[in-house]
Amino acid sequence: MSILVDENSRVVVQGITGREGTFHTKLMIEYGTVVAAGVTPGKGGKKVEDVPVFNTLKDAVDKEGVNVSCIFVPPPFAADAIIEAASAGLKVIVCITEGIPTLDMVKVASFLKDKDSVLIGPNCPGIISPGKTKVGIMPGPIHMQGGMAVISRSGTLTYEVVDQLTGVGLGQSTCIGIGGDPIIGTTFIDHLKWFKEDPETKGVVLIGEIGGTAEEEAAAYIRKEFNKPVIAFIAGQTAPPGRRMGHAGAIISGGQGRAEDKINALEAGGITVCMNLGNLGQTALEVMGKS
């Protein structure tokens, strides 16, 4: 098992003819992902890496039965792409695009409220169920199939963590970058709920960062509802307030979003917080060894 994506996922790449879209289509196929279709308006009938390209997502669904989307379209058109995917009934929508206007995401979030689609991202590395499928831009080879779930607001930081986990022999069930923007499709809690029901997942690494209150909310949820071991790390302990630290969502403002508040909340929730990134793998090994 794993959550949301696995060997049965039939992936459509929205924006497949763009530079990034083409590049990562190749890498996903190399990893073993079934990339069944691509979409670029006006390029219908072409092929990219032997994948058929359609003008609309509707066509891709009708002709190729795709059920997971991976979006690489540029920021001005990304909200349209997400809504197109949800309208076409895709179960899982992964939006890699960074730089979508926040008010576009307000509309997207409103649109998705009564839909069955799960949106991962935007501004995220995607989702991987190691050994099964990879929908996103993370380096495949660092992953190893196993029992750890990883949920993260970050990209390369996640790779660092996964690499350490693999290094200490802790494989992963599913790793998810939920995205670094203020408004994202799914939160820590959404994924924790799914991981709770996933028998393959034995423990969770939760990688947060400054900004917002998502980690505090996750801590409250874990305390009340979550019964598997959780190891957490918060990036940005030394970040100054009022400055956006790369991610649109990573900003301490109005007295909210400080790393220490998040760490306190997590520890109060009985969660092991790793303070030094260098030791994360080791910490995870200790926690999982105990359980």
């Binding site: 690499d163 408004i183 030094n276 260098g278």
Partner: protein, 388 residues
């Protein structure tokens, strides 16, 4: 992107949000002329800088004679203003806003932000205006009222009433109506201009019963500037750190900090975590620098150059987890910087991921002196040793 008070007020004025009469001046003689156009006394002379806390920093002066307007302007223009947000060196005041003074009866707080948890814009109102909202939030949180705005229906009149009819003692019909229209207009400004923050504090009622925005803060979502081109001219590069400005030009995400260890990282989360690791090893990060996934060799070189322009830097830590950014590209960029003779400080390199061997090879084959760290823990130790 932050706007100046006068810029935000200009937008307010055109959007049906009442503002005081005022004029922007950049020279003292303009200030004297301004008093002839703008009714007073009193007048308010306000330094136009992005940093908050201007009032307590002496950047806002209420004066009663025209010559005082000139004196105050002269006092401010071209000189550094130090506030709790600027750091000890302050920021240079390039522009001053001269406004008519009004007699304030009551002061409210009104703002709009995006609420992350609900994924909706929120209108925030408090009848405890004029003070910092964080202070109100901690002392009298019950005085802060919020309304979330569903994008399907937009701002609705009952939401304004929910905010306004909570005011004690209650307002009379005139101010209620003006406040309702100000809120509707603020919502329109916020959404049509892709704002991330709009704040009016204080939103005052004058002794004559007029409602008027005495201050104005506005920030625009940088991700939306592609469709807000007419706002681009509001950008004021003089307000930015020169190194940050240079980084911006090369699409590098650089933020200057106060420490002595320069850091170059790919990915914002990893860059933050690297700063934390430096600190934990007993050193202080000199900057946040995310070179991003698509960095080219020349961008890397530029990144090194920017880090080194900060004279406080005593050592550099390069921490790259190669993914889209390949380690060999990183190595070539660093070597190119070294060849230009830029690197005379200890360099600690930690490479991992795509093309890591090739990258290490390039570094080894260069004349560059550097330390290789096998992992992040070791990298931090090496950095601490170099600066201690």
């Amino acid at each position: 992107m932050k706007l100046h008070e006068y810029q935000a007020k200009d937008i307010f004025g055109k959007s049906g949000i009442p503002i005081p009469n005022g004029q922007l001046v950049t020279a003292v003689d303009q200030a004297t002329k301004a008093t002839q156009i703008i009714s007073g006394a009193p007048w308010v002379v306000k330094a136009q800088v992005h940093a908050g806390g201007r009032g307590k920093g002496g950047g806002v002066r209420v004066v009663h004679y025209p010559y005082e307007v000139a004196t105050a302007t002269e006092d401010l223009l071209g000189k550094p203003l130090v506030t709790k947000q600027t750091g000890p060196e302050g920021v240079i005041v390039n522009q001053v806003l001269i406004e008519e003074g009004v007699e304030i009866d009551r002061e409210f707080y009104l703002s709009m932000v995006i609420d992350r948890s609900s994924a909706m814009p929120a209108m925030i109102f408090s009848q405890a205006g004029g003070m910092e909202i964080e202070e109100v939030a901690s002392k009298t949180p019950e005085l802060i009222l919020k309304e979330y705005i569903d994008p399907a229906v937009g701002w609705m009149p009952h939401q304004a009433r929910n905010l306004i009819y909570g005011i004690k003692p209650p307002l009379s019909l005139g101010p209620v109506k003006t406040l309702m229209s100000i809120m509707a207009n603020l919502y329109r400004v916020f959404t049509t201009l892709d704002c991330s923050l709009v704040e009016i504090n204080p939103l005052a009622i004058t002794k004559e019963g007029k409602v008027i925005a005495l201050d104005a803060k506005m920030s625009v979502d940088p991700n939306a500037l592609f469709r807000q081109k007419e706002l681009l001219h509001f950008d004021d590069p003089r307000e930015k750190d020169p190194l940050e400005l240079m980084a911006e030009k090369y699409s590098l995400n650089y933020i200057r900090l106060d420490g002595n260890v320069g850091a170059m990282v790919n990915g914002a989360g990893l860059a933050m975590a690297t700063m934390d690791v430096i600190k934990m090893a007993g050193a202080e990060p000199a900057n946040f620098l995310d070179v991003g996934g698509g960095a080219s060799e020349s961008m890397i070189t530029k990144g090194v150059e920017i880090i080194l322009k900060d004279r406080r830097v005593k050592a550099i830590l390069v921490n790259i987890f190669g993914g889209i950014l390949r380690c060999d590209v990183l190595a070539r960029g660093v070597v190119a910087a070294a060849k230009k003779g830029m690197i005379r400080l200890p360099l600690i390199v930690r490479l991992k991921g795509t093309n890591v061997e090739e990258g290490r090879e390039i570094l080894r084959n260069s004349d560059l002196q550097f330390f290789v760290a096998k992992d992040l823990a070791e990298a931090a130790e090496l950095v601490a040793k170099q600066v201690s």
